[in-house]
């Protein structure tokens, strides 16, 4: 019962098309788990299913042994699961500081209050700055988030994701579109923030995946064909044929 | 039996008018996401242009020329105004057309005055074609029916059989697809908007003379158009047709029902004896609330089945 996330017989269809087929997956507490697979394998759909964005066609998902497959996204988030998106998803008109602060509000019990003010709250302020420090964006706290560079925006999104204090993080292609040095910075950031958290990451960059992950699952056409340590995955024949092999061509 | 047939036929006549009015907006809204608040204004412009043209060269030329002019106007509105607003999102587009609605209404008053103009049914179609249970049907009404059915058939076959139509169809269900096909999206949008407006204009040409051509007609017709496209389903021509006829029949039937809640209560053997506010509620007959029914339908539809009768995606 050490699983942070558990998926049992999960299926998802859009009309006739079955995108996820009877999928089973276990993600252990505090591990870094990567999901890889060719384009169109259903990785993003899988993320959307876990985070409540899409509803399951059949199956069951549990988060820390609680069933979450019938909950709304915000309810799942409150249970301790946070995620980032493939396309940068921040509040572009707000300042960097405010982006992070919004991410913290719920976890600090502010709820939908209309009687408390956010500006004067010392604890909130401190927490916000501590997260800004963690993601190295303290220097540009008061610039509108939309004006940041792409890499900084991705970092900010990770910041929002961890701000709510979730213990399970899901990152959707966190290094896509970054230069080598930016990728390196991002990987370090991810390593640092996932030290005491469970991490699920979808990534295309194999270097990043093998550097980061404790375990890897390979998703091909809606089915997991293997789940194992990086080393064993590298040696797995089926995986090489289905996925890694194609990379060599 | 006679009554039912008769009610259905009246409902069909009215429904086809609604279909002509709203089919254009279904195309525009489905493909571009633009909820054109001024759609009924183009309908009104159609009626006024037809009035002006038929005064000089007759009704049949007006039937072709007026929609063409409207198509041009619509295309220009899209090209020089809507395209500009597009980047601010659909709500901004809606806001713009809301302003446009005011502008067109005032322009019409500026050019044609504020009193109704004398736009009449052409004489050669102003005779009774046949009668049914004592009520005569004018040849012109049948002409309108034929044109509207022809319009549906032509539109439907263009959309399902031709290449251009297939692209538009694709765009209706998956708006993001068009750009990936490598087509000139702004041009497609301009044409669709122009075409949609022209359809509204054609409806104006055909209906202006029986409804009365006056500056406030856009305001009174505007909201019903939204009802049709929402109930029918986003971007579905078939849906618009079914929804129009449905609303037409519902309204026509409701008007012929003089029953109130009170009648019903009495029917099952109770009698209610209340004075005051609620009395009027239970005495209200279905025929009196008939005009509210479409809006009730709209609200219920958006709440319970936002994709409409035949739509593939939510509004």
């Amino acid at each position: 019962m050490n699983n942070a996330l558990q998926l049992k017989n999960v299926s998802k269809s859009f009309g006739e098309a079955k995108i996820i087929k009877n999928l089973n997956l276990e993600i252990k507490k505090n591990e870094r788990h990567a999901i890889i697979g060719p384009n169109g394998a259903g990785k993003s759909t899988l993320f959307h299913l876990i985070s409540g964005h899409y509803k399951l066609t059949s199956g069951k998902i549990t988060l820390n042994n609680d069933e979450i497959n019938n909950l709304e996204p915000h309810e799942i988030n409150r249970k301790g699961l946070a995620r980032s998106f493939q396309v940068t998803n921040i509040f572009p008109k707000m300042s960097v500081y405010e982006n992070i602060r919004c991410g913290i509000l719920w976890s600090m019990g502010f709820k939908y209050s209309i009687v408390r003010l956010v500006n004067g709250d010392k604890k909130l302020n401190e927490k916000t700055y501590s997260i800004l420090e963690e993601i190295n964006l303290k220097h540009c706290a008061h610039i509108p988030a939309g004006l940041l560079s792409y890499a900084d925006q991705r970092a900010l999104e990770i910041g929002i994701t961890i701000a709510g204090g979730a213990d399970t993080l899901m990152l959707d292609e966190p290094t896509a579109g970054m230069s080598n040095s930016e990728t390196e910075r991002a990987v370090n950031l991810i390593k640092q923030i996932s030290e005491k958290r469970t991490l699920v990451v979808v990534e295309h960059d194999m270097g990043v995946v093998f550097d980061l992950a404790d375990r890897i699952s390979v998703l091909v056409y809606g089915e997991i064909i293997a789940t194992d340590t990086p080393k064993k995955i590298r040696e797995n024949k089926a995986v090489q044929e289905a996925y890694l092999g194609t990379e060599d061509h | 039996m006679d009554v039912i047939l008769f009610t259905l036929f009246n409902g069909l006549l009215y429904g086809m008018l609604l279909f002509m009015l709203s089919s254009g907006l279904t195309l525009i809204f489905g493909m571009m996401g633009v909820l054109n608040f001024a759609h009924a204004s183009f309908f009104m412009l159609g009626a006024y242009f037809a009035y002006q043209i038929s005064k000089y060269i007759g009704f049949i030329p007006a039937l072709f020329i007026a929609p063409l002019i409207i198509a041009f106007c619509g295309a220009m509105v899209e090209k020089y105004a809507l395209r500009r607003v597009h980047k601010f999102g659909h709500v901004a587009e809606l806001l713009f057309t809301f302003g446009l609605f005011y502008i067109i209404e005032e322009l019409v008053q500026m050019i044609w005055g504020k009193v109704p103009v004398g736009y009449h049914v052409p004489e050669y179609m102003d005779f009774t074609l046949f009668s049914m249970s004592g009520m005569g049907y004018q040849a012109y009404a049948m002409f309108t029916l034929v044109v509207s059915i022809a319009m549906f058939i032509v539109l439907f076959s263009v959309l399902t059989k031709t290449r251009a139509g297939l692209i538009i169809q694709a765009a209706l269900t998956h708006p993001e697809i068009v750009s990936s096909l490598g087509h000139n999206v702004p041009k497609v949008f301009m044409l669709v908007f122009g075409l949609g407006c022209a359809l509204a204009g054609l409806a104006g040409v055909l209906a202006g003379n029986t409804l009365g051509t006056e500056p406030s007609m856009a305001l009174s017709l505007g909201p019903i158009v939204f009802v049709v496209i929402v109930v029918g389903g986003l971007g579905s021509l078939k849906g618009a047709l079914v929804a129009s006829i449905l609303i037409g029949i519902v309204q026509t039937t409701a008007i012929s029902l003089d029953y109130s809640i009170n009648n019903f209560i009495e029917l099952i053997g109770f009698s209610v004896d209340i004075e005051s506010l609620w009395r009027i509620l239970i005495d209200l007959t279905i025929s009196q609330i008939a005009p509210i029914l479409p809006y009730l339908l709209l609200v219920l539809m958006l709440i319970f089945r936002p994709r409409g009768l035949f739509g593939n995606r939510d509004v």
């Binding site: 985070s51 964005h53 709304e72 915000h74 309810e75 988030n77 409150r78 946070a82 998106f85 998803n89 509040f91 572009p92 707000m94 602060r101 919004c102 509000l105 719920w106 976890s107 502010f110 939908y112 209050s113 209309i114 003010l117 610039i143 994701t161 | 996401g33 105004a81 607003v85 601010f88 709500v91 901004a92 809606l94 806001l95 713009f96 809301f98 302003g99 446009l100 609605f101 005011y102 209404e105 005032e106 322009l107 500026m110 050019i111 005055g113 504020k114 909201p223 939204f226 009802v227 929402v230 009196q288 609330i289 509210i292 809006y295 009730l296 709209l298 958006l302 709440i303 939510d314 509004v315």
Partner: protein, 422 residues
């Protein structure tokens, strides 16, 4: 304490000016107008909680404004006929607020699942339904006649009867300040911040633990509550409420005010409410084409300045903060551009006025007064003059606008480099 006064200095100045105004303009009309402005400021700022803060475009917000008005009038009449116990007139906005909150929560619950155009359509559907009902349920709404009342009921504490318009003005002023201050504070609360977050990115807002629908619903209900308070004051101001007050026309008017003033900024709707109320009451007597000008202005703002008037001003904030000289350097190109636009506008207005005259009035020799000057609408000369003005305006604009844009671009690039150097 000093800080407190500093941050509220603008507010205090406005309050003092507003309190002095009726001493200068003591005619009953000016007082009615000022009172109307106060009421509409509350209504518009409340509306902007939806449009500007929450990103929801409603065509039916007058429902809550109007229904609260109807409720207040009925209660006032009830007190007058002594069928209802006395309720202090001063506290009437509470009645409106409760009515607004009730209906807002009800309608909001079913309509806030989606934002954008779907929301706009639902709001329009509700508005059409309620307007139709006001005409059908005569017993409560009294049809198109509406209901009249006498606000002088009950005891008269400190000799205040609320009969004279000036007493109503101060009542409205008081509640206007309270309501606007409350709504301003709400923007600084967790709910207010999340309201903006949901507007900008509902998907992300859901994944930081907030129910998007709940935030929208709450915004809708609160906005309706303040709109209701405004409706009560409106009823007190005119001692009358009619079906226009719940109709699409009233909803459209508040949309115009909020958007033209500037939905993106808290002060925008206030500017819009004051400006449009004033113009609506004075320009409408001068020209028949007032609605056309309003429609043109609105569409122009949507196209060229989606931030509204306040947006245009706020846009220059960073420049002013960086270097005042930069701002001053903008004045000259701006003046040139604006004056060329005005030249064209004068021509356009002249043409519109003459067209209106010809189609609507068309009597006598065709003398029509435009800009305090008499023109002949049937003579070719006046048409030529105005057409020439339009052409000159367009010509000048083509010259001056690139200049203005250049100066703006220059100024903003200076600001950008300043920021990145920091």
């Amino acid at each position: 304490m000093i800080n407190f006064f500093k941050s509220f200095s603008t507010w205090i100045i406005i309050a003092v000016i507003a309190a002095i105004l009726p001493l200068i303009f003591d005619s009953s009309f000016s007082l009615t107008l000022l009172s109307k402005m106060g009421v509409l400021i509350i209504f518009t700022v409340a509306y902007n909680m939806l449009l500007g803060q929450g990103g929801m475009l409603s065509f039916g917000h007058a429902i809550y404004f109007g229904l609260a008005g109807y409720a207040s009038i009925h209660i006032l009449n009830g007190i007058g006929e002594e069928t209802l116990p006395y309720f202090p007139t001063v506290l009437f906005p509470f009645i409106g607020a409760i009515v607004g909150l009730f209906f807002g929560s009800l309608v909001g619950y079913v309509s806030t699942r989606r934002a954008g155009t779907a929301f706009a359509m639902i709001s329009l559907g509700f508005c059409e339904m309620v307007t139709a009902m006001t005409l059908i349920f005569v017993i409560f709404f009294n049809g198109e006649d509406g209901i009249q009342t006498d606000r002088m009921v009950g005891p008269e504490p400190f000799g205040i009867t609320f009969g004279p318009q000036i007493e109503i003005y101060y009542l409205i002023l008081f509640w206007c300040l309270v309501a606007v201050a409350l709504m301003y504070i709400i923007t600084k609360t967790p709910f207010g911040r999340m309201s903006n977050a949901v507007r900008d990115n509902p998907e992300r807002a859901a994944f930081i633990g907030y129910s998007v629908r709940r935030v929208r619903w709450q915004a809708f209900a609160l906005s309706s509550m303040f709109a209701g308070a405004a409706g009560s004051l409106h009823a007190l101001n005119y001692e009358h409420i009619g079906f226009e007050s719940v109709s699409v026309v009233q909803s459209g008017a508040v949309l115009f005010m909020a958007f033209i003033g500037g939905a993106g900024h808290f002060l925008g709707p206030i500017v819009g409410a004051i400006g449009l109320t004033y113009l609506d009451s004075t320009l409408a007597d001068v020209t028949e084409a007032w609605l056309l000008y309003l429609g043109l202005t609105f569409s122009g703002i949507v196209m060229f300045a989606p931030g509204g008037l306040a947006g245009l001003i706020v846009m220059h904030g960073p420049i002013a903060r960086t270097d005042k000289k930069l701002l001053i350097s903008l004045i000259k190109p701006y003046c040139l551009a604006i004056s060329s636009v005005i030249t064209g506008l004068i021509g356009l207005i002249g043409i519109i006025e003459m067209l209106y005259f010809r189609s609507l009035i068309s009597k006598g020799e065709g003398e029509v007064v435009i800009f305090w000057t008499e023109f002949n609408a049937n003579g070719i000369m006046s048409w030529l003059i105005f057409i020439a003005l339009i052409l000159v305006g367009i010509f000048l604009s083509k010259k001056t606008f690139p200049l203005a844009k250049e100066s703006w671009d220059h100024a903003i690039s200076v600001v950008k480099t300043e920021i990145s150097n920091e």
